[in-house]
Symmetry: C2
DNA sequence: CTGTTAGCGCGTTCAA
DNA sequence: TTGAACGCGCTAACAG
């Protein structure tokens, strides 16, 4: 760095504090305002964020701590969140800890020492005491997709229960009763909630639940494939499958292809996904999108709210559900079209 | 922030500068070392990054400026880059400007005022003069996937020409001669290079190029679908299609499904993609992955290199090609497996 | 090796 | 409104 506020003051022939006031939007004498503005432009001055942050204890910077940026979930969420923060003049520091509590703790301390104005984070499983340092410094904490309510300012999560309910209800309304559900690891909140939503709606519609049709796996395509084979090996076969996850749904469709199951004549598929679900084969699929845009919006709202309150409020919990969308489909080009 | 270096000094009964030296890894008298360490632990002290950065003109922070985090390309690249930077103790500030030159300029100035130690950026089309402010401050600039060589420290890009060459050569070796190529907008470097690589290999193998088989579109599934229809409307049909992009390849496969083209009996498909290409239908596809890991590695290497050189070196250009991989496939579960 | 001193660049008193 | 002074927390230069 070279040109400082001092240079601008000298160039404009005013005191440093006058320039400071001007730069912060304060009112200055007309005459000085002009001189300062011209000096700023001439020298190409822009205030040093570090010095400013140091002095004001405000950096207009937030941290985001996640496991990693694989899959589309975090990529899309970050995209929305970044846009949201941009509107209110905040920048984002990205920290991927890869599930390492140690690394997470280091990042948390780093962000604290950077004096970020807030931290968004997705807790590692049940753990989150690695956030103690920023918590003690009273940096607003926003938990994303946490399993339980931690001691944070706010918490935003997908309401999988409601989504599962709606999605399965959708199948029921279409006449299905033999509905299987396949989920990932039973330790995951998303899977637990999907199962709960499934149970609820089946109860509400007085449909008997077949335990063999509630399968747990791994949220991978391979797992989905395997579960389909397992379902189709049994005597009683379902007419619809609810996959809690995009990748599993891919496995389901792949299995359908290999087992020569016709979708949706013999099988209907419902899925909750981060993508807008789309396949190559022309099948009818009911999809519910992850409410990523809403989640980031709510997270940002909570953050803004936290800026106004002086002290940390306890865990305001916001649960959001996505919407059911018709499967995205691409139409073959029409003949009428000129070439 | 509350506890400062001053508190630690008082607690340990030494001078501030002694603590400073200790915190920066300098050697201190054994006796003092112990006292300082205990004071640090007792008070939970950690140095303020802002003050430190302000003083040393070094923040251990870099900026990354891209258009947006849609698609898997940037998501994956960021993931690799973050990991790479993490190793050398750097944090990443993410800035998405959405192709707005104005916003990009603001971000560039912001990062400069943040005194980042370097900026990675993907230039907006041919423009990039919005990077003038950081350039004047001699902040190392690393351009990613730029179309031409700007005035930067380093430039890393995918070598699409080589990838296209290899991929098409692969088809030729398998006996194909009637090979079509479909790409996105002709203004894109990636598309231009794909076409060039295609031309080169066809020339090298003395195969006549049919102009009607070189189609430009939009890097979307819809576009791929449409192009396939166009190809199949003609008299002469290709036996292989090289899609420059994952989405277009999806369109091709969808079209194949609708036009009842059997892949790979009637048609072979080659594709350059960011994902590891995988489809639902069990078709043989040759895919070449984007060299995202290498790109981020090289970008980080250039950055590290720039830290040693005092002044900015001019545009070292690194071109990297990905590798051809067999299509990822998932096997159906074996019967031998116990259930 | 230690302590004192002088800033890094800025915002914020206070008096004028 | 303005300008001089001081301090944010830290490091670097110097003297002891």
């Amino acid at each position: 760095m070279e040109i400082t506020i001092k240079d601008v003051a000298k160039e404009a022939g005013v005191a440093i504090s006058t320039v400071s006031k001007y730069m912060s939007g304060g009112s200055v004498r007309q005459e000085n305002e002009v001189r300062i503005r011209e000096a700023v432009k001439k020298l190409g001055y822009s205030p040093n964020s570090l010095a400013r942050g140091l002095k004001r204890s405000k950096t207009f910077t937030v941290g985001l701590m996640i496991e990693a940026m694989d899959g589309p979930y975090w990529a899309k969420l970050i995209n929305y969140l970044e846009a949201e923060l941009q509107k209110i003049g905040y920048a984002l520091i990205l920290c991927c800890h890869g599930k390492s509590v140690e690394l997470a703790r280091e990042y948390a301390e780093y962000l604290t020492s950077q004096m970020v104005d807030g931290i968004f984070f997705a807790p590692i499983q049940e753990e989150e005491d690695y956030m103690n340092v920023p918590r003690e410094k009273e940096i607003p904490l926003i938990a994303l997709e946490a399993a339980k309510g931690f001691e944070v300012y706010g918490l935003v999560q997908t309401n999988y229960t409601a989504m599962a309910y709606e999605l399965v209800e959708n199948l029921i309304i279409k006449g299905h009763e033999k509905i299987a559900v396949i989920g990932g690891a039973p330790s995951l909140r998303s899977v637990q909630e999907c199962m709960r939503g499934y149970m609820h709606v089946m109860e509400d519609y007085d449909i008997e639940v077949c335990r063999e049709w509630m399968l747990y796996g791994e949220n991978t395509r391979e797992s989905g494939l395997e579960m389909m084979y397992r379902l189709w090996q049994a005597e009683k076969k379902p007419t619809a499958v609810f996959a809690a996850n995009y990748y599993m749904a891919m496995g389901v469709l792949r299995a359908a292809s290999e087992l020569h199951i016709v979708v949706p004549d013999e099988l209907s598929l419902a899925v909750i996904d981060d993508y807008v679900f789309s396949t190559l084969v022309p099948v009818k699929v009911t999809a519910a999108t992850q409410p990523l845009e809403k989640i980031s919006h709510e997270a940002c709202r909570l953050f803004r709210e936290s800026l106004e309150h002086p002290k940390q409020k306890r865990a305001e919990k916001v649960r959001i559900k996505g919407e059911i969308v018709p499967r995205e489909s691409i139409a073959p080009p029409r003949d009428e079209e000129e070439e």
